[in-house]
Structures are given as C-alpha cells and as structure tokens.
Amino acid sequence: MKILCSKDILQTGVNTVQRAVSNKSTLPVLQGILLKAEKQTLTFCATDLEIGIRCEVAAEITEEGSTVVPAKLFSEIVRKLPDTIISLDLNDDVLIIKYFQAEISLKNYDPQEFPLLPDLDDARFFTLPTALLKNMIRQTAFACATEETRPIFTGVLLNIDGHTIKMVGTDTHRLAYRIAEIPNQDELQFNGLIPSKTLSEIYKLIRDEDEFVNINFSDSQISFQFGSINMISRLIDGQFPNYNQVIPKSCDTKIYVSVDSLLDSVERAALIARDNSYANIIRLAISNRILKINKVTEIGKINEKLDIKMEGKDTLISFNAKFLIDVLKIIDCEDIVMEFSGSFSPGIIRPLNDSNYLYLLLPVRAT
C-alpha cells in the first residue's frame, strides 16, 4: 500500500471514525482504524461492534492495500504532522509515514482480523432532510437514560408512518417528544430504537452542507449515509413502552413564560441549589400572574420573580433544575407554555404556538 495525501485529509478521516474506536474491547484490533487504499480512494473505518463509521476521502494511491493502525497513537501522530504532503507506505505489517526528510515507522494490526461492517443489502431505504434530523436529535436525545441497566431507555424511538416522523426519548423521569411531516414517503413504515450515542455522533458529524441523510434499515441495524460518511449502528432490542398514556390530557394551571428569562432564573437558582444534599431541586410557586423561584440552602438563598400570563389555579411544584435547564436550552422559540396539574403530576412544557414538540417532566416531592 502506497499513498500520498495531505495532512488535512488524514486528519479528517481519523477524526471522523475515531468516535467509533473501541476503548474497552478485549479484541485488540478494534482499538485500531482500518485504512484501505483502493481506486484513488482512501477509506477509514472503525467499529466497537455497536457503532461502525466509514469515511472515504480522495488520495493519490500508487499501490492499493489495507492495514489497521493503532487509533490513539496514529491520531496523535497525524495531529502533530507538519502541514505538507504525507506519504504512507506499508511494508509487511509496518506503516512508514514520511514527510519532508523524516519518517515514522508504526507497527500495525493484521487487516484480516478487522471485522467487516455489514452492508445492509436487503435493507429498506428512506431520506430525511439534514436540518430536520439534526433538530429532532437535538430536541430528544438528551432525555435518554445514560445507565445501561435499562437498555430500552438508552435509545430514541424513531417512528415513521408515511408522511409523519416521530422521535421520543425518555429516562422515565422526563420525556421529550417531537413530531414532523416529511414529504414523498407514502408507503414508508419504520419503528426502531436507535441508541442515543449513535444519534449524538451523527449530530456531531453532520455538516450543514449535507442536504439529505440517506437511511437504510433492517430488523436489527440502521445505517446513515451523509457526505462521505457512512455510519452503521445496531438497533436496541425491546418494546418501547406506550408513551401516550403518560401524557396528561388536561391541566389545572397553564402559564406562558419567556424562555430566556426562565432559563436565566433557573440557572441562577440552580447555583444555590447545587449543594449535594438538596439534589439540585428548585421550587416554582405560581400565583397572581407571578412565578417565584425561591431556594434556601446552607450556602445561601435566592428569590427570583418573573411576570407571567396564567390560566387556572395557583400551584406549587418542585423540579430537578437540570431537567428544566436541559429543555429550556433546546427550545427554538421565545415563549413557552407550561401546564401543571397539582404538585405531584407531571408538568408539560411546549413551545408557544408549536404543537410539534412536547416535554414531560415529573415533579420532585420536595420537603
């Protein structure tokens, strides 16, 4: 294998696929990146057997071949290389990296041991506008659970039924729901749980100039293709619970409040509530068209007051401040509607005049 390419190209490929490199695998070859030189294309490939990322870049290839480089070391070397044309030359299992008058020799893994990423040949196929997918990921994936003890809640439910696409993420304490219309997908049906880690990586890798994302799926795997990148992921096994039944259909109190003002107030109150013994809990007191956030802890106290529009009864409700801040940061409008049914029922947060997004948050029983 003999390749000539710029440092930038190497860095792009390595940075893209490095997210899929396994950190804790017992299979040493998974700690590497597969480099494959073929027909003037250099392909980078990495997998931890959960996610696989493939990235293709153009390079001058004088001799085809493949090798697996140790990911961490190769990435650090590439980062430190000078900004010039780099030559990669494979000699048995040693990769020789040449630049100016210098060279580095790197012992590699056997490419035959590297697992092949499946091609999903018999998969079904659909296309989503990049901006829509990115926004839906941003608004739902954060609500997923991070602990692996409950696997179905570590994924986002993606449901497509003809023209309607829904994404739902929950960790059982909060639930984020987003619905949208997609054109030209009359016959399409899909229902699958995509690991939130996969979606976060897609979110980071998609560029605004990639107009569409091509998605292939089989019963157990899904792949996303955008630009020169192809990412494949397993789907999470299991039945997502019926989320419709947890969404209250009515409320006793409805308030209209500015997102920025509420976010600022909650963030300030969270600073005082950060003391571990108070578990980051803040209390909202709603009455007489005023929302008060009061917090007293051993480190200090805070009294915040916001003017709001309200309908219905006065109420008093406590939330985990982090869960409130999370949603206030991803809402794309100036004002929100918050609906409550007493101190113990879940609160609903929606953007004003936008029924396509909903966030459900369980209150905390504060003393």
Binding site: P241, V246, R365
Partner: protein, 103 residues
C-alpha cells in the same frame, strides 16, 4: 380369486354393522347437545341481584388493588409493567405515574 371376493364381502358386512351402530348413537349425541345448550342458557341468566353483587365486588377489588399499588409506589417501588416491584432508585417514574392516573 374367490378368497379375495370373500374377504371383500366380510369387510362390507363389518362396515354395514359399523354404520348401524353410528346411526343408533346419533339420538344420544343430539340429546346431549340440546342439554348442553339448555345448561349454558341457564348459567347465563343470573338473577339481576346476583349480577349487581358481582359488579360491586369487582369494583371493590379494583379499588383495593389500586390503593395497594399507590401505597407500593409511595413506598418507592415501581408499579409500571416495565419494572414492577423493583425499587425506584433514581426518583419517580413517568410510566408508574401514568399507569396510576389511568387506573
């Protein structure tokens, strides 16, 4: 050849006697079916008072069961079908709350 004809005649006789036996059993089957239908109708036609008692009892059991589930939830255990009976280690659960509200 004659032996074969004889064998067929014997089989024919046996079949005729079997057919007669089946015909003699038919009235018994018919009477059993009639009796089954009559008994089914009788068992469905419970007196109104009895029906009310059954409905009231079912509602009472449902109420007690709901109270028990609420108590279990307040004591810190899941009552949703996903994790029923497991301790709620990280605070309240939306699916338990939704389930109790629906009940």
């Amino acid at each position: 050849m004659r032996q074969l004809t004889q064998a067929f005649l014997e089989v024919e006789e046996k079949l005729i006697s079997l057919l007669e036996e089946v015909r003699s059993l038919m009235p018994y089957v018919q009477s059993l079916e009639d009796e089954n239908l009559r008994l089914k109708r009788e068992s469905c036609a419970l007196p109104e008072k009895e029906t009310e008692r059954v409905i009231a009892n079912a509602a009472r059991i449902e109420g007690v069961a709901h109270d028990n589930l609420v108590r279990l939830y307040k004591d810190g255990f899941h009552v949703c079908h996903l994790y029923f009976g497991q301790p709620m280690e990280a605070g309240a659960c939306l699916f338990c709350a939704g389930f109790l509200r629906r009940e």
